[in-house]
């Protein structure tokens, strides 16, 4: 019961702030709502027992990526907001059309799911460690070592790329 209340509350916050992110005019406010949204997503992770991921979410997303966004918003503070004149919206029909399509699909899945419930999944091979952090760590450094290394390369490339892009003269 408590879990359900928590879930519904968190879910409502996530969706509400997500809507605000997309609809707010002021970009800085939008970024702030994004932070709140991410914090609630982290809370959801805690609810799902993924504490490590929750901490990473806050650390990386809220404390890192969004600060970057805020930084850029402040740097690129506009004399002329991009949506000041003309129609602020673009491809509205397409956007909402896509949304409707996804919604339809979702409905279909939900109906299908309720009609024939999924078979219980076979148990996954046991991991020799207990605890959320340990589990994630074990997986990262055993089965997913190569993707992990690739991800680190990706980050390195992104870092260099960002420096090259943002630096005025090299």
């Amino acid at each position: 019961m408590a879990q359900a209340i928590a879930f519904y509350f968190i879910a409502a916050c996530i969706l509400g702030f997500a809507v605000l992110v997309v609809t707010t005019r002021d970009t800085v406010h939008s970024v702030l709502f994004l932070v709140l949204d991410f914090l609630f997503v982290a809370a959801l992770y805690v609810l799902l027992g993924a504490q490590f991921l929750a901490a990473i979410q806050v650390l990386v997303y809220a404390g890192g990526i969004v600060v970057l966004y805020l930084f850029v918003v402040m740097l690129v503070n506009l004399k002329r907001p991009p949506e000041a004149h003309e129609d602020p919206h673009r491809r509205t029909k397409l956007g909402f059309g896509l949304a409707a399509a996804v919604l339809l699909e979702l409905g279909a899945i939900a109906v299908y799911g309720s009609v024939n419930p999924a078979a219980p999944m076979p148990a996954t091979p046991a991991i020799p460690v207990s605890g959320n952090t340990e589990q994630v760590g074990w997986l990262l450094y055993t089965s997913y070592l190569i993707p992990f290394e690739i991800a680190s390369m990706l980050l390195l490339v992104a870092m260099i790329g960002a420096i090259v892009l943002a630096k005025r003269e090299l």
Binding site: T27, R80, T92, I127, Q135, A162
Partner: protein
């Protein structure tokens, strides 16, 4: 009782909001933020399944997604800055240099 379906629905809704944001807004920073929302929707899904299946694989993938998001944000914002410096705009509709 909260089932994975609930999480899926939440994730899908977040995904839709993200898609609408990408499609509707002109401000490229907000578009990037909408993409972050989409990625988060994916993560919620992954973590929910990870919890359902009692293994950490979903979380591992979520970590990869976060890494990708970080890379995307760094490069994307770098592009925005570079573009803004030259064109003084962050309106995506005015970013049509490649169009003849």
């Amino acid at each position: 009782m909260i089932t994975p379906v609930h999480y899926m629905l939440l994730s899908a809704a977040l995904f839709i909001i993200g898609v609408v944001g990408v499609m509707v807004r002109k401000n490229i920073i907000i578009i990037f933020m909408s993409i972050e929302l989409i990625l988060n929707a994916v993560n919620i899904n992954l973590v929910a399944f990870s919890a359902q299946l009692q293994n950490g694989i979903g979380q591992v993938f979520a970590i990869f997604v976060i890494a990708v998001a970080a890379a995307e944000a760094a490069v994307g914002l770098g592009i925005i800055l570079a573009f803004y410096r030259n064109k003084e705009t962050i309106n995506i509709d005015e970013m049509n240099l490649m169009r003849s």
